[in-house]
Structure formats: C-alpha cells, structure tokens
C-alpha cells in the first residue's frame, strides 16, 4: 500500500508540473507512469532483502544448501509480481489525471509485464548487493537507474504508442526490445546472484 501511495503521489505531482494543458498531459502520460513506477520500485526493491539480512537468514538458506539461483529467481519473481500489480494499479490513476486512456488494455498489461520484468531482474540483483549497505536507499537507485535506461525508454515508447495511437505499427518492435532486455537481465541475474551473495 505504501509504494502504491508513493507512485500515485508521484503521478499527481508530475501532473501539477505539466499544468492544465490536456494535450501535453496525454503526450507525457506514458513517461510519467514509468517514472512513477521506477521511483516506487526502488522503495520496494530496497526492502526486498531486509528480512534475509536481519539474522543472516539468506546465508542460512545458502548453507542448507539451497541453490543461489533458485533463491534469486524466487525473489525476482516476487518482485516482478509486486511491480506488475503496482503498474496495473497506477494505470487508472494515470487515466484520470492525464486523460490518457487506451482501449488496448491487454496490450498495455503486456507492456507493463515486460517492462516490470526488465526492472525487477536487475533490481533484485542490485538490492541483494546493497542490502547490507547503510545508505541502501541511495545506493540502489545510483546503481540501478543507469542499467535500466534502455528498459525505461522502450517501456515509455510502447506505452505512449498505446495511448497516442500507433499508425506506423511500432508497438511490436518496441515490445520485442523490452522482451529482449528482460531475457538478458533475467539470465544474467541468475548467473551472477551466487557471486554477489557468497563471500
């Protein structure tokens, strides 16, 4: 609930920044939706390993022994579901605030699923790296944001095409790009997680 409130408040503040120009609001709706999602994601991702670090529960699981890769994918899937639900919940707020609806709801959900997959995989990996850092709320965005810029650009473009119309049929290539980034991030995350969390 906390991250939803944060995301909704971010969308509201962005709409104030644009002002009452309904055309400009519609044009920027996709970008602001993803920025709100990205900012809110850093809050939820930063907390995703909090429980594991309190009494070194993650180390305990690794010593059982549990597969580091299985632990990573479990966490990443949980984060993905959380972010996808958050993204879907923010869409009605965007529609109301930015007058930016679309009838292609199924495709919008697909873009949100692909985009949040591209955020959650590297986000989970970096969250595990920064979980024990004192300034993890600051460190995580510093590490994560540069890495997810391509995901953000593709997600914004695909969402804007759904809201503003897609006369050149560009949605498919942007969605494929999002899917490719998601596959790369998920594969790399599974490979690297063990090295990140093991001494």
């Amino acid at each position: 609930m906390g991250i939803f409130t944060f995301g909704a408040a971010t969308l509201l503040l962005f709409s104030f920044a644009i002002g009452p120009d309904s055309v400009a609001l519609r044009q920027h709706a996709g970008g602001f939706l993803w920025l709100a999602l990205l900012l809110a994601s850093t809050l939820s991702l930063a907390e995703s390993f909090e429980r594991e670090m309190e009494e070194q529960a993650l180390e305990g699981l690794l010593l059982l022994p549990a597969s580091a890769r299985a632990l990573y994918y479990g966490k990443a899937i949980a984060n993905w579901i959380q972010l996808a639900l958050l993204g879907s919940a923010l869409v009605p707020i965007m529609v109301v605030l930015y007058d930016a609806g679309t009838l292609r709801v199924g495709k919008l959900v697909g873009v949100i699923l692909l985009g949040t997959a591209g955020l959650s995989a590297p986000g989970t990996l970096y969250a595990s790296m920064t979980a024990q850092a004192r300034a993890r709320q600051t460190l995580l965005p510093l590490l994560l944001f540069p890495l997810v810029v391509p995901v953000l650009l593709a997600a914004v473009k695909a969402t804007s095409l759904l809201i503003l119309g897609d006369p050149m049929d560009q949605l498919r290539p942007w969605s494929m790009l999002l899917g490719a980034f998601a596959v790369i991030h998920w594969a790399l995350g599974g490979l690297l997680f063990g090295r990140v969390v093991e001494d």
Binding site: E55, L63, A66
Partner: protein, 234 residues
Amino acid sequence: MIAVSAAGLYRRYGRRWALVDVGFEVPEGELVMITGRNGSGKSTLLRVLATAIRADRGTVRILGVDVRRERERARRGLALLGHRTHLYEPLTALENLAVAARFLGGDPGRKGLLARLEEVGLADRGDDAVQTFSAGMRQRLALARVLQQNARVVLLDEPYGHLDPSGFALVDRLLRRLRGQGATVLMATHLLLRGRALCERGLVLEAGRLVFAGATADMPEPAGADGAGFAEGA
C-alpha cells in the same frame, strides 16, 4: 576417515589477519572444542569450515570434499550454528523449521516439526513469531534447525550462548546424542571445564594462529583464563 581437514588456512579482514596458517585434521565421530580469547579467530575458523566465508589461502576438505571446488556438495554434509541465528524474525518457530525442511527435502508437517521443538523445549511456543523470543529461545530454535539438518559435520559457535542452566544441560545432551549418532562436532566455547568433559580433542587459537591441537586433557588454558572468567553455568 578424516571428517574435517584444514591446511594452511589464511583469512583476513582488511589489514588484520584473522587466521594465519591454520591446519589440523579431525577424524569422523570426534567432538572437538575450539577455544581462545575473544578475537582469536574461532568464529572465523568455523565460518571458513562451514563455507560461509572463503579462506584467502589454504584448503578445507569436509568428508573428503574440497569446499573450494565443490561448495554445494560439501554443504550437504555440514550444519553451522553461528553467532547470527539464520532465522526469519517475522515467521513463527514452526514456520522457520518448515522453510528449512522444504529446502532439505524433509517432512514440513506440523507434527514432526513440533517434535523437533519439543527437543529444545520450545513446543509451547511453536506458533509465536521469532521476534517475540528472548535471545536464549532464539538460540534453542537455532539449535533445533541445526539438528534438523542431520549433518555428519556439525559446527557450533558458542552453543551455550544466551542459554539458562537448563539450556546448558540441553546442549550437553545434544552433544552426547550427536556423538552417539557418529557425527563430527567442532564447538567453539569459552567453557573450558565443560568442553574438556565433553570433547576428546581441543584446538587453541591465539591471534589467528593455532597454538595447540591435541587431547583436551593436555590443553593449556588460553592466556588470561581464570575460573571467574569462564563460568560454567549449572
């Protein structure tokens, strides 16, 4: 068979060496106490043996398995009770054991897990969240989780820590039981009399160096040790 073998172990934190050229062998089925002053490297040694941290140099073999090459395989024969309990604070005692049971491929059923809690005197607190537990109760639950692993090599770092007199007796019983089951136990402790009574062999560390390895009867007291400083509990 040699259960635990360490050779030329070095480990440092920053500039400070926590382990310097530590080497020893422990035959299967032996109980070994590790002692030494605070900061002498006992916990670091146990964590290196448990594969929780890597040695900077040297080799460790657990039941013949090189931990550097086959970490996951070595872990299947190991259990560690560390300073941190490895427990999930918001989960109940039963849920914590159920999580471990699922990863171990064991029975996560309530009845079996309650029996495990009974062993450590926590059966009546099974449905309470760990965050409501005292330090001694957490230690008991951590011990239950270690027992759950049925490991052939058990590494215990201050197993008597935070426990009341009945807890001391519990640990004594568990150690005897592990010995009866043929498990190899390495236990770091400051309780010299207790350790000598329970363990055949002892290791003494000083500033990261192994200064004694042999029968506990011949073991020297660590520098600074006296009766008052090493209370034995009830």
